[in-house]
């Protein structure tokens, strides 16, 4: 019955979604989804378009509330946390089945994690499991006995995870991170060795998952269709019959598809169109906070940016209000600190204050009154119109406010990343999008020797405080430590925060249950289409 109904839905590329066997109109949601997904293996991908689809195909241990993404029971109906907060015991639901009808067992979770951590499999996301005892050593090949790693299936319905250090926000990670999703290892083995990425198990007709939907069609660069999974534990809640994901890279093309009714939801909107939609179709426009920060990264080993006073002077002399009002124009919020406001109940109190006067004073104190004698600073950005516009605006602000001259250098994305990772830059535009909803995500980057701390800035006090935050007794105590970290960052300015991201896109008003969330994640089982 299902397949007959969906064959019909698949054939209607344009308007109208067909009807089910019972005559009820089919609920088919059509989403513009950015780039073509690299793969649909949760352990072999890193991008947002992939995660959007995987969210429909695989369920996680812990689910996310559709309003604010706080952790709610998922595949696990409950969990216990040991007194030392190192051992998490998850109790799986009794009615869990893969989309082929076979039961989901705790042992499959363990096997999935083993696959992710197997060195030969070479997962780019394996580091996300390193918080578990022995996981990092196993991933590096220093430990070969997986039974010594902290994943245990106590029985078919009980999974125990032992951490090597406390992670107070582990449940928040589990709620939104797909690396923790179990895989149907028996199905995978049918198509080749578990430690290969090229076995083709994720193709349509083969992929078996645990999510509210299952893969029906994958036509590369055209569309991916997922349909309701009858074996899903919470199938009664699912109202959509199918979701069609359209890989559309170009924002203008996507907007045109939205206007002809080919799409219900776009992944982005050309920023030049925001004003038009505000005026003509405000009911379709979404401008929502997005948990990311746009900033300039200083290489603190290169003069003159090795002097914190100069970095801070530069940070103070940026007119962020004007920048977000006149240059970026997507409803972004100016950023006067590194951490995102209202993230899991945390808002940084630290703030870049003092303005241009303080900036001039600091610059003079550093030996360059009015910018005199200061060599030009080179700003690196990846080739993209928006980054160039922002760079030119800030270049003008620094010249006007401080007399500091800046030259711009743009590079193709991969060359730019290479320059970043080899520290071949003075000042570089950058952005950081959070994986999970906790302020820790923005603060952990700046500890010494973090692989992503390309500023080369190092502060033992910062490192100590961040480590101690993991052992804080309460969330309030932990957030108090983060306040200290944020004030250190604002003082030292290894990075110059510019603005907090927003996501701007369009949604057809008939889509219901698509609430704004900071990570732009929308669990599909709560979404439906309004027919009236």
């Amino acid at each position: 019955m299902l397949s007959a109904g969906f064959a019909l839905a698949g054939g209607c590329a344009r308007h109208g979604d067909g009807a089910g066997a019972d005559g009820r109109p089919l609920q088919v949601l059509r989403i513009g989804n950015g780039a073509e997904p690299q793969d649909l293996d949760p352990e072999a991908i890193t991008g947002v378009p992939e995660l959007n689809i995987i969210l429909s195909l695989f369920d996680s241990l812990v689910g996310a509330d559709p309003h604010d993404l706080h952790p709610i029971p998922g595949l696990a109906e409950s969990w216990d946390i040991s007194n030392d907060r190192l051992v998490y015991t998850f109790h799986l639901r009794s009615n869990l089945h893969w989309s082929d009808g076979n039961p989901i067992t705790a042992g499959e979770f363990v096997k999935s994690y083993q696959r992710t951590l197997t060195p030969a499999f070479a997962s780019e996301v394996s580091y996300k499991l390193w918080c578990v005892v022995g996981a990092e050593d196993y991933n590096h090949g220093m430990l070969t006995d997986f039974s010594k790693v902290g994943f245990k299936a106590l029985d078919d319905r009980t999974l125990q995870v032992t951490l090597r250090q406390r992670i107070p926000f582990l449940l928040k990670i589990l709620a939104t991170d797909d690396v923790w999703d179990p895989l149907p290892v028996k199905v995978l083995a049918r198509y080749g060795p578990l430690d290969r990425k090229d076995t083709g198990w994720t193709k349509a007709g083969r992929l078996v998952g645990s999510g509210a939907f299952m893969l029906k069609e994958w036509t590369p660069d055209q569309k991916i269709v997922v349909v309701r999974n009858p074996y899903y534990w919470d199938a009664a809640r699912v109202k959509l019959d199918a979701i069609e994901f359209y890989p559309v890279v170009d924002a203008s093309t996507e907007e045109r598809m939205f206007r002809t009714g080919q799409l219900d939801i776009t992944s982005q909107l050309p920023s030049t169109k925001i004003d038009v939609y505000k005026r003509e179709h405000p009911e379709e426009l979404r401008l929502e906070p997005y948990l990311g920060v746009y900033f300039y990264r200083c290489n603190v080993t290169r003069p003159p940016l090795n002097d914190a006073r100069i970095r801070r002077a530069l940070a103070l002399a940026v007119d962020r209000e004007r920048l977000v009002g006149d240059v970026v124009k997507g409803g972004e919020q100016p950023a006067y600190a590194v951490s995102y406001p209202n993230d899991g109940g945390y808002t940084p109190r630290a703030r870049l204050t003092g303005g241009v006067a303080e900036a001039r004073r600091l610059l003079a104190e550093a030996g360059f009154p009015g910018g005199k004698g200061m060599p030009p600073i080179e700003l690196l950005y990846n080739t993209f119109k928006e980054h160039q516009d922002i760079g030119e605006a800030i270049q003008a602000m620094w010249l006007e406010n401080l007399g500091v001259r800046v030259t711009l250098r743009n590079e193709d994305w991969k060359v730019y990343l290479d320059s970043q990772h080899t520290h071949n830059f003075q000042l570089e535009r950058a952005g950081w999008i959070a994986d999970y909803m906790d302020p820790h995500v923005f603060l952990e980057i700046w500890v010494t020797a973090n692989g992503n701390n390309d500023t080369l800035w190092s502060d033992p006090e910062y490192d100590r405080l961040l480590r101690s935050s993991l052992d804080a007794d309460t969330e309030e105590a932990r957030y108090e430590i983060y306040q200290k970290l944020d004030s250190i960052l604002v003082e030292e300015c290894p990075v110059i925060p510019i603005y907090y991201y927003t996501s701007f896109y369009t949604v057809n008003p008939r889509v219901q249950g698509w609430w704004p969330t900071l990570l732009n994640i929308h669990p599909y089982k709560f979404v439906h289409l309004d027919r009236t």
Partner: protein
């Protein structure tokens, strides 16, 4: 003629080898690699990745192994009817893609080349059906309003870029008139707008070239002789002039067909078409080494092949040339 073709095919071997070698090594010397990402991978993970893709072998060994995989090791042209997989048909293995770990470059080409071929075929038809008559008409009615109209149309076609024409067509015919999808490659009707957009540019070039070629021929002695002998104007144009007048168009069509068939980055992006043109460009940005090589080799082979066809056709069209 067969000796000529055989000789040219032999010449193609070193040409292809130079292209493959150049591409193989050049892309390795560009900064950044397939695994360079915004969130840095740790050195240990990078080591695992390099081992998985054999990037930890010495470069000469990688080159040797790649060349060996490229060598045809089978001959089952019948398999091509099942799909364009060159591995099945000739044992040519372009290896897995770096960007799409689950797919091989052979599969990507087999999926996308037919789409580009189809789009290219329609566009060429449009280009020839529109461009040739315009060019001939302009040449025959030289310096009349017909010539000015045809020439202006052609000039406009050359000047208006596809990324302007495409969205305008969509705006008028898809969004306002509602006759078409704004983009996609789902049903036969979706072929129309992209083919029109891509075809119009080539039509404009063909009109300009055929007008120029025809005018040059029309001023030659043998045309005057034909007219003196009392041939009708129609016969002069179609029997005597057109054959020589088309030579510049034929020379242009060789590389143009190779380009049009391997897909257009701009058209495929505007209309969201699953063709090879986007892979060709994006693979370079992604440092997808195997996909870059696969598409470059395919493109080079098409250009070499089309140039050969052009040379043969030119000898056939131009009595002054011989196979030598």
């Amino acid at each position: 003629m067969f000796r000529f073709i055989g000789y040219r095919l032999l010449q193609a071997i070193p040409v292809m080898l130079i292209i493959i070698t150049g591409t193989f090594f050049m892309q390795r010397f560009v900064p950044g690699g397939p695994f360079t990402a915004e969130k840095a991978v740790t050195p240990e993970v990078l080591r695992n990745l390099n081992a998985y893709y054999h990037l930890d072998d010495p470069l000469w060994k990688q080159y040797r192994d790649y060349l060996w995989d490229l060598c045809p090791k089978a001959f089952h042209p019948g398999a091509l009817t099942q799909g364009l997989d060159l591995k099945q048909a000739f044992g040519i293995d372009f290896r897995p893609s770096f960007k799409y770990p689950n797919r091989t470059v052979n599969e990507i080409i087999a999926d996308k080349l037919p789409v580009s071929l189809e789009l290219g075929f329609y566009s060429l038809l449009i280009a020839l059906a529109v461009g040739l008559p315009l060019g001939v008409l302009a040449a025959v009615r030289r310096n009349t309003w017909i010539d000015y109209l045809c020439s202006s149309l052609a000039m406009t076609g050359i000047c208006v870029p596809t990324f302007v024409l495409g969205p305008i067509l969509v705006l008028l015919l898809a969004i306002h008139a509602g006759w078409f999808n704004a983009s996609g490659w789902y049903s036969p009707i979706d072929r129309i707008l992209p083919s029109l957009t891509l075809g119009s540019v080539y039509a404009a070039y063909i009109a300009r070239l055929s007008r120029g070629g025809l005018l040059e021929i029309m001023s030659q002695d043998f045309i005057r002789t034909a007219r003196a002998k009392g041939a009708t104007e129609t016969r002069v144009i179609f029997k005597h002039a057109l054959r020589g007048g088309l030579l510049p168009v034929v020379s242009f069509l060789g590389p143009a067909i190779a380009g049009i068939l391997t897909g257009s980055f701009v058209i495929e992006t505007i209309f969201q078409i699953p063709g090879l043109g986007r892979e060709f460009v994006n693979s370079a940005f992604n440092r997808d080494y195997t996909l870059v090589l696969g598409t470059v080799i395919l493109y080079a082979a098409l250009i070499v092949g089309m140039n050969l066809v052009v040379d043969v056709v030119q000898v056939w069209l131009n009595p002054k040339l011989k196979f030598e």
